[in-house]
Symmetry: none
Subunit: 196 residues, 4 copies
Amino acid sequence: VTTKLSERQAPARRRILDTATRLFYGEGVHAVGIDRIIAEAGVAKATFYHHFRTKDDLVRAYLDGQYQQQREGITTVLASLDGAEPREALTRMFVAMGDFGGRPEYRGCAFINAAAEYPDPTHPVRQVITEQRRWLRNLLRDRLTTLGDPAPDRTADILMLIRDGIFVGADLDDPAPLRAAIPDAITRVLPGQRRR
Amino acid sequence: VTTKLSERQAPARRRILDTATRLFYGEGVHAVGIDRIIAEAGVAKATFYHHFRTKDDLVRAYLDGQYQQQREGITTVLASLDGAEPREALTRMFVAMGDFGGRPEYRGCAFINAAAEYPDPTHPVRQVITEQRRWLRNLLRDRLTTLGDPAPDRTADILMLIRDGIFVGADLDDPAPLRAAIPDAITRVLPGQRRR
Amino acid sequence: VTTKLSERQAPARRRILDTATRLFYGEGVHAVGIDRIIAEAGVAKATFYHHFRTKDDLVRAYLDGQYQQQREGITTVLASLDGAEPREALTRMFVAMGDFGGRPEYRGCAFINAAAEYPDPTHPVRQVITEQRRWLRNLLRDRLTTLGDPAPDRTADILMLIRDGIFVGADLDDPAPLRAAIPDAITRVLPGQRRR
Amino acid sequence: VTTKLSERQAPARRRILDTATRLFYGEGVHAVGIDRIIAEAGVAKATFYHHFRTKDDLVRAYLDGQYQQQREGITTVLASLDGAEPREALTRMFVAMGDFGGRPEYRGCAFINAAAEYPDPTHPVRQVITEQRRWLRNLLRDRLTTLGDPAPDRTADILMLIRDGIFVGADLDDPAPLRAAIPDAITRVLPGQRRR
DNA sequence: ACTAGCGGGACGACCCGTTTGT
DNA sequence: ACAAACGGGTCGTCCCGCTAGT
């Protein structure tokens, strides 16, 4: 007569983290209190503090989750582009970012937004952000190296500018023209191609 | 025999706004309470609420100030570049942004940071941000038109990406390589110039 | 070049008292702050505190004014009923109370309402209320004596019940049936008249 | 060996409501702050806001409690008068009101007092008051019908006047003569009885 | 592992009545 | 007549800890 685990609802930790992700991303970290999270996750306070020592721990877990999701997302995109021409693949990757920014629930880059609320660069939360950025920059640089860019570090830095610009602009401006500009931007920035 | 107004300390409103600017920019809006602002500004609570109806009003005033300062800053830079070649002037403008991002007290773009804490796009605070962005994009587009860019709107969109990327990256990454990449980025993005 | 007093708007003290009367009666004493009164009266704070030492002083003045107005009102009604049969005059007086309670801006008896906000029976505000009630009861008793009531004190007490009931009920219940009941109530309560 | 729930001290919600009832009734709603209530109830603020979403919610609960108490009180009185002559029972009921008004801690009618602090007739607090009054009036009318009153609605309206007069006067005037007048008042008001 | 409830105390924004100086 | 100052008050929310019970 006991409910099997497989039939039970998502375990408490998952529910907490999912709820926190939704609320933190949608409304900001400081704007969402623990009480609201536990209420919407349907768990008791003690349960929350059993799984997360403090709110900041939860914020870290939230960003860790975002980091992993982003890696999986980009990995998937790149896998689907396996046969494509390298330059084309890179462009498609940035277009995918634009697509992401065009979704109705889009609310900016979780990392950039979190950084705005955690000014102290030594804060653990910031470390996740730093790690995510390093990972992405390395990925770009490796791709550029493969692609034969004579200055892959430099181009990677520039592509990072574009990336941040996309994530910020898709939130603050009209995403339509911005997304339309992405392939052009990548083309201009990548080396060795005649223009116009 | 009465103290002249000019000799008195900065009037209350100024002190409040200056303090708020320093704290909001340095630590985030939600992270700074009214009590702290009035304490550091050395004014009474009633005085604060005499000058600003609500905290959001103060936030608006803070961003309005940032907007104006930014306009003045860019105007000054452009004035000092009056004789320069248009393409060069534009590059210098972006380099100046990088310089701004290299300052020790730099903490990101006040507008992007504020947007992260005000998710609701209809909020008055967001309107200041929207206005600032429109102003900058128009300025860029006009410059590009003067410069003979065949697609000034498109290039302006791309330059906005670069701008946001600079302001974000200068906060989240090592600003040195980022700043070094700026002239290159502008060169690549601007039209009609042979590359490499 | 000085504006003649006769040309000026209502003097400050009057404007303050009128505004306070409107707001205190309409929204309650505790619910209305000094700031609001001076704003709506269009006077400076210093002016306010020049005319009234404290808020409680203003409340007293407000109730004094209500007291006087009520006396004048009743005096006027009675004067207009000078020739009427005494019993009829008394009835008319209570009907007039009901009429007062039927006005759209009616919000209950100023004295009863004020007493609800000033529980301490020794408070100056309460003394105005006590005085008003004594005055009215005496007036009723004298009328009843004139009218030949063998127990004027007793009947006055009962008529006071009716009065308070009218002022309370006209605010809390539908005033229409209440007002219709008034002449009947007086008839039943007054002595020596056959019924039905 | 664990303390049974029944042996523990009164649960938080009860303590809060009891304290609020005492203070709201004794000093007025606006005059009593949340902080004072939680201090005297010995609960934490979070506990308070766990049980009552806002202060107004507590005020509603306070009046709901008064309403129920009053119903129980009157029901008890009527039960104890079960065999009595109907007219006598009604008189006794009003005498009981007077007794209530004669108690040292008496501070007026909780409903009338609350209405004075909540001018807006659409406010939830007012709805409790309206309900209480409808209930009482209906009870009186039913009694009068039973008693053979040819105009039970009219007499009920008049008895409501008396009721309000008692509750107001017992607070604002000397309760002694007022209480002495009650049986006489009821006699005069009830139909069909020779007088004097 | 999870729940309900409670305690604690600092802090959030905002308003109170009052006084002073220009 | 205005602006500023003052100190404490309003209601409400913050994050976090703890106990008792399932």
